[in-house]
Subunit: 339 residues, 2 copies
Amino acid sequence: MAPPSKPRRATVHDVAAAAGISRGTVSRVLNGGYVSAEARAAIEAAIAQVGYVPNTAARNLVMRRSQAVGFLALEPHSLLLDDPNIGAIMLGANEVLSVADHQMVNLVVDSARDTERVARYLSGGFVDGAIIVSARTHDPITRVIAELGLPATFVGHPPDLHRSIPFVGIDNVGSARAITTRLAATGRRHLAMIAAALDRDSGADRLTGFREALGDRFDPRLVAEVPLYDYASGVKGMRELLAREPRIDGVFAASDAVAAGALEVLRDAGRTAPADVGVVGFDDSTWALRTQPPLSTVHQPAREIGRNAAELVLRQLRGEEPAPGNVLLPTPIVWRDSA
Amino acid sequence: MAPPSKPRRATVHDVAAAAGISRGTVSRVLNGGYVSAEARAAIEAAIAQVGYVPNTAARNLVMRRSQAVGFLALEPHSLLLDDPNIGAIMLGANEVLSVADHQMVNLVVDSARDTERVARYLSGGFVDGAIIVSARTHDPITRVIAELGLPATFVGHPPDLHRSIPFVGIDNVGSARAITTRLAATGRRHLAMIAAALDRDSGADRLTGFREALGDRFDPRLVAEVPLYDYASGVKGMRELLAREPRIDGVFAASDAVAAGALEVLRDAGRTAPADVGVVGFDDSTWALRTQPPLSTVHQPAREIGRNAAELVLRQLRGEEPAPGNVLLPTPIVWRDSA
DNA sequence: TTGTATGCGTTATCAT
DNA sequence: ATGATAACGCATACAA
């Protein structure tokens, strides 16, 4: 039961032999260099004939680069299944990497075992750079990347440790402040917040913005803390809030999914939005248009975020000076019917 | 403005020098072989000291494998943004690849340019195998994989051309037939279907199952064809159906997202489920519990699908005989309140 | 058990 | 413009 011996694939050597020309010249037509028209024709014919395809491992070894950029998704559960923006960010990043002829390689980190393996992968020269989304402070992968000096970009706030790595994101504090102010301007008196993912910068920042907007009127009792940005957390948070203070007439949910959950609880409690209570979300994700009524929310330019993140690592790859700084993208408020 | 010269990383040579031992022995402690305890200790110390990390490109070159498996997501738009199962499939695949010490590499194909680049990537020996989800018939990538003889597994029906590549999936025809029958058993008289993605096997199969279940009572006029498995398509399809035949009292939506869209249209039209019209979906995705009322639907064991797909390529990698066959996973019907 | 030597498939440097 | 030849970093068959 011997393993099926892999069919040896044609090499530069083979095509050189088939074309009756030296390997050096073959390499030249592959990578672009001075080569006569006839030689080129002969070689191209030979390539097609023997079915040659370059061995990237060999190329990487000698070139010292892989033309690939890693896209690291940490915390895949909440990320891949719940985060409404991750897909758009990936697509945006892939767009610009693609035109730059770089392969985007998506790496999922789902366990300690994954962490170690991915660290090896990154160290192994499989990628020239990395985009890291939703890193947590002190994440081991982050440390590896920093130590490796691998060109990288964070999506969202970077862990404080590695200020050498730029990030692209949005101004969560400012956006939260803005939409809270807008909500208050509709004449609500008892404003509450369902604050999610406080262990992530985005979550903490949104709460900060909410507090700043309210100033003196901020009431810590009207903040429900929930673990995730998802629907179930919205349900849980809204229930808590209602139990604590029935007179609530406005709520800022940390994400659209959370807002959707809150709306359901409100409906079950016989209160309608926006008449009885105004509800606003965050993300402008697909959720926003699925709820009844459609959500007023903060628009996140997810695709643009992805594009910028990719741009930032490419810039580092090109060794451009000065080192790229962080970029904050604008987040327009989208006002619909929920408040 | 010279590009920052990459700091040369320590090699086997360096650690051999630091330990005062030959490279061969170093390689042996790395890969497991006969080596004395003292030599091992000295080398491990040296490794830590010089900060050695193996160069995977070099290792791949000589070993002729990468310990990586590609996860190809074709049609990323509908897939990454709308497909409710893709995340779970990925996680399932990653689980088993991870314990087998293989790196899952997620490749997104979003354009012709991507297609070509990914083909190069695969040919380049970056991966030892591939998992392909939602391939279309005659997809160029599929051809490349078949020609390369790269161990692979399809998720979902494989293109007819390459029967050499196994697939793991569900019995779409049977499942659709089953849930349609169940829906009919609730006493509905005018059963319609919103058929999505008929250019994919899953889409076509679900329609076939619907037709089979109805037999003589099948009315082609009551089938609305929509392009995607998403919410918007559900809205569109349901509007069409209602316009064609207002007496509809039962609808089979090709996916939960489609069903959700259909429910909204029904609600706007003043008809309630399940009283006026029974609605069933497909997937048992997160959508199913978000709708009002919760959906009766067909459960897809997404995580298991991912696990099995990974298992199938690993088996090929090990060169096991006989070649693995296709696997069809069971799809229990989950009956909730929408019909 | 350990050291030596060779090859993996490319690119790059040097003559020619 | 082209042909030899030396790396690239590692694993391994063979010799010691």
